[in-house]
Amino acid sequence: MVAFILAGLITLPLLYVIFSAITADTAVWQRLWTTRIPELLFNTFSLAVSVAIIDLVLGVSLAWILTRYRVVGSTFWDWLIILPLAIPSYVLAYTYTYLLQRHGPLEQFWQMVAGSDAQTFSPFSFAGATLVMSLNTFPFVYLLARSAFKNFNISFEEAARATGASRLSTFFRVSLPMIRPSLIAGLFLAILYVVSDFGAVSMLRYQTFTYAIYQQMTGRFDNTAAACLSLLLVSLAFAFLIGERWFRQRSRFYQTTGRYRKPIPQACSSIQNLCFTRYLIVVIATAFGLPVYLLIQWTLDALTAGDLTTGFMGYLGNSLFLAGVTATLAIVVGVPLANLACRKQTWASLLCIQGAYTGYVLPGPVAALAVLVLITQLTPELYGTVIVLLIAYLVHFLPVALQGMESTLQQLSPNLEEAAKSLGAGAFRTFSKITMPLVRGGFVSAWILVFVQCLKELPATLLLRPVGFDTLAIRIWLEASEELYQLAAPPALLIIAITIPVVLLLMKNPTGEE
């Protein structure tokens, strides 16, 4: 079947990396174990755990506030809160290298409060990385918690309170455990993001696996060492991926026609309103408002100074081309795979789907490494062309499309397709008249999601792009690394501007459901 062949092709890069790592010389492994690996493991784990904790607190508290209380302007806040997702992690990182620098604006602000000897932490540290990654990923947890709270059957909470539990107690003992699967799925997603991130950690020079792999490939040209590190990273990512899927499975559902009562937000006192609003403002400002304000300022400076070169349109064109082609390919390849996952649950099909999801455990540098090695071995004539980049993009982003498509298909009750069949519709008519119209929204969302992720992609592009083929992301990274804040700002702002409507659209229509 088509799906199997596709899945097989997608798994090839991962298999190759594993193969390289396993057959590597033990001397390489030994060197890595004694020098880099313990540090990398510790760094990656500690970053992931601390980000997870902060995300949990931020995401759940904000979701709770906005779903259970009628805060003034709550629709407005709803939109604003997910805007941080529109900022690529390396853009957030670079604005914070400016904000948190020695004698920078945040330090001056802090000194006003805590005295002129007070110092803020350096961005190039664990604290800096944690701050940036938390601010960038908490909306994942927020969105999932929000959706879970909104679709919550209020009868559970009322039953708890009827037995005498206080509001707080009900929250911790009933509401929170009931949305736990969704929460954990969201957390694992955020952790996966952190573990695979390259842009922010490289900009903040925080040594995690992704950064180390990149250094091995570009600094030392040691692809074997890179493969070994990749194997470890992949195993880590794999563990979290399995966890995330398992928890998501537990909160799986069909379109429900059952009756249950949804929660109604209740009024809050003006003090509560004030506190909630302040909290919301602080979070949104640090995660989005402040960085964007800086970017706008820098862009205006760059424009007035005439720094925008004609190359800019070329970079934009490259970005759009890569993103568009990858997104379309991802949907086309994903349809048979998603269909397989949802309709025929056999061992073979499950294995097939997991194969397609390997892209998730292949962070940018690893995907690039894998595709690079494969291409040089199998089809060396493609080396140095855009096609290599496209293949790497597809392998890396297919899971994003698959996830959206699978979840959309899952929500389609199988009874609808059976009803169509009982009325005489064959497989094709059932698909085109019934399935397609109902999943179209979700599939379009998946396309958009892949498109936007591709626009922001950094490491694979850095490693595989043909000479002279720069994208917006590359320019940002190159210029920001040299602290040319102003030059890096316009492309950054452009990416954010393109991403914002997409993020807002997805918020309105997450995974294609109402």
């Binding site: 379109q255 009750s413 169509a420 069949k421 005489g424 519709a425 119209p437």
Partner: protein, 357 residues
């Protein structure tokens, strides 16, 4: 004088020892055989997990048949070897959750199965179906704008529009309020009889089966326990399970002497051709028992349930067995009152003594 046999309507559906299984050693449905004549309404009745929905889906074509044959209008559509897919069977189905296409309005839902007709014919047929089900004004509405009862009618109209040879209904009333259910049952019965539709209805409610069906098939753990008219099922159940499932049933021991079944509360005629054991168990229905006040018979009233038109009394016999009696509620017997029990059964229903009483 020659006897002209009564004109039997043709057989529309026939199941011959149909077996369906999800796992090799645990069949969901085992060797079920029954037949439906044109215009019959047949109920598949049984508790959850008895295999009634699996049987229905096997008739529709959504489940495959491991052994046995399913015949529609005399043609085999499923047996162990080949399987005609649902879209080719012309069997209409109403799902438990109605499965109305959410993105199509009522008109489009109902006309979905009418691709063979010209667009004029299609429009006419949709109008006909909507007026038949009382939904004429709702053609442009969408499923989410309709009430539960209206949704069910749309599902019915949609399934009947292509004039299927058979209509299957999977617990069609389970999503409705009780008062709605009562009304809809009557309407459905009328509609089916009016259109002369052969229908198979799955339900776990014996009352529903009795009001709707011409014949009832009682299923238990994948097997067909009895297939007969509702009155037969109630008064002459084939097994203890059937007896208990379709109404209040009590069982008291009896002994056979001289072609008579002797029990604690009286003697009953022995059914002809009875060839079994001397010790039996007799089934008693509440309507078989009459009570009257008495001073000294050792039986007394233990429980009373008011049911509107009648009282259901639970009577403790001297031997310790409990039987029930249904009496008109204009009479009243107090708890713990001593009563005399009189059996007025017109027939005897006997079962074997259970192995381990």
């Amino acid at each position: 004088m020659t006897d002209t046999p009564p004109h039997e309507p043709p057989i529309v559906l026939e199941l011959n020892k149909v077996t369906c299984s999800y796992e090799a050693d645990r069949p969901a449905v085992q060797e079920i055989s029954f037949a439906a004549n044109k215009g019959d309404i047949i109920c598949l009745l049984g508790p959850s997990g008895c295999g009634k929905t699996t049987t229905l889906r096997a008739i529709a074509g959504f489940e495959s048949v491991a052994e046995g044959t399913v015949l529609l209008d005399g043609t085999a559509v499923a047996d162990g070897n080949h399987h005609v897919p649902p879209e080719k069977r012309r069997v209409g189905m109403v799902f438990q959750d109605y499965a109305l296409f959410p993105h199509l309005c009522v008109n489009d839902n109902v006309s979905f199965g009418l691709t063979q007709l010209s667009s004029d014919d299609r429009r006419r047929r949709v109008e006909e179906m909507l007026s038949l089900t009382g939904l004429s004004e709702l053609g442009q509405r969408y499923p989410h704008e309709l009430s539960g009862g209206q949704q069910q009618r749309v599902a019915l109209a949609r399934a009947l529009a292509p004039q299927p040879v058979l209509l299957l209904l999977d617990e069609p009333f389970s999503n409705l309020d009780p008062d709605m259910t009562y009304k809809m049952r009557g309407e459905l019965h009328q509609l089916l009889k009016k259109t002369q539709t052969t229908a198979i209805l799955v339900t776990h409610d014996h009352e529903e089966a009795f009001t709707m069906a011409d014949k009832v098939a009682v299923l238990h753990q994948g097997r067909l326990e009895q297939f007969a008219a509702p009155e037969t099922i109630y008064h002459l159940p084939a097994s203890r399970f059937v007896a208990e499932f379709v109404g209040q049933a009590d069982f008291i021991p009896g002994e056979i002497h001289n072609h008579v079944v002797v029990t604690e509360i009286g003697n009953l005629p022995l059914p002809k051709n009875y060839q079994g054991h001397k010790h039996v168990v007799v089934m008693i229905r509440p309507d078989d028992i009459e009570i009257c006040n008495s001073e000294s018979h050792g039986a007394y009233i233990e429980t009373r349930q008011f049911r509107g038109s009648e009282n259901l009394y639970g009577i403790r016999l001297p031997s310790g067995h409990i039987i029930h009696s249904s009496e008109s509620s204009t009479q009243f017997y107090a708890l713990n009152a001593q009563v005399a029990v009189n059996m007025v059964a017109t027939h005897t229903v006997l079962f074997e003594q259970p192995q381990n009483p």
